[in-house]
Symmetry: C2
Subunit: 162 residues, 2 copies
């Protein structure tokens, strides 16, 4: 089953110092943290804050390519997590009426979903794993991180800066 | 007139510390340095060195999107330079036989041309401006930079590292 989620915000992991995009369930209270790269975090952050850029960034280029080819994104689905790597698919509706499924990193899929106003879904099993925060066995401080994530206040999400 | 060029290599500008992608004329000896972002330089570098990545990077995603939509890149054209900003277009051949022209930063267009084996063209006027290296009026050390670029040895281009 796919759970619809939305972006709660971007934060910096206090342990690894990497950006985390935090998704939250729309019809519930579960959260999903996904560690992403700095560049992709920037692409998400600029769009979330509606900061205009003089030239199209790489994800704006993808949006322009899709629009020029009469294609749009129906949804993105975060489909799996293997060895702490998240997998996603972009479901694209092309002008022939066909649905095309494109393999993507979640960060690119999320950056694109923001630009094309496409809904974000996550497979139930991943939301469950993340909820128990046992998916990262290597993370010694997982309990601490879980508490930290749960206690983040809305204003903490505004602190993401490159 | 459009001049066909190819990538000579990537170097770090000793003054600004920013990556430069250096293009060279195929049928001549003119060069064109284009200052680009670190992320885009990485996308170009990884493909030039054929370094595999476990998951598709953002430019690989664009390639996958185009291929799934039966589109291919006919050519990229670096079309203009205004206030030290380069402009480019990606010419895309879609399945309806139509040619679509997409506005792009040169760095994205080049990263994509490498992945889709598309030729790189530059408007003659830009090659000329770059050849005289007067296009960057703010660059005090333009003469020094010109000499430095002209005296780069093939092995210097291998030194680009993130």
């Amino acid at each position: 089953m796919e759970i619809e989620m939305r972006i709660k915000g971007l934060v910096i992991d206090p342990i690894s110092k990497m950006p985390i995009v935090v998704l939250e369930e729309i019809a519930g209270d579960r959260m999903l943290p996904i560690w992403i790269g700095v560049f992709e975090a920037n692409a998400i952050s600029l769009k979330m804050e509606n900061i205009p850029t003089p030239r199209p960034l790489t994800h704006d280029l993808i949006k322009n390519v899709l629009q020029k080819l009469d294609a749009y994104i129906e949804k993105i689905v975060i489909s799996d997590v293997l060895d702490n790597t998240f997998y996603a698919y972009i479901y694209c509706h092309c002008n022939k009426g066909k649905i095309i499924k494109i393999d993507s990193r979640p960060s690119d899929a999320i950056a694109l979903s923001l630009r094309m106003e496409a809904p974000i879904y996550v497979e139930e099993k991943i939301v469950e794993k993340a909820h128990s925060l046992k998916f990262d066995e290597k993370l010694e401080d997982s309990e601490k991180l879980k508490n930290w994530l749960e206690n983040l206040r809305p204003e903490d999400f505004g602190k993401y800066k490159m």
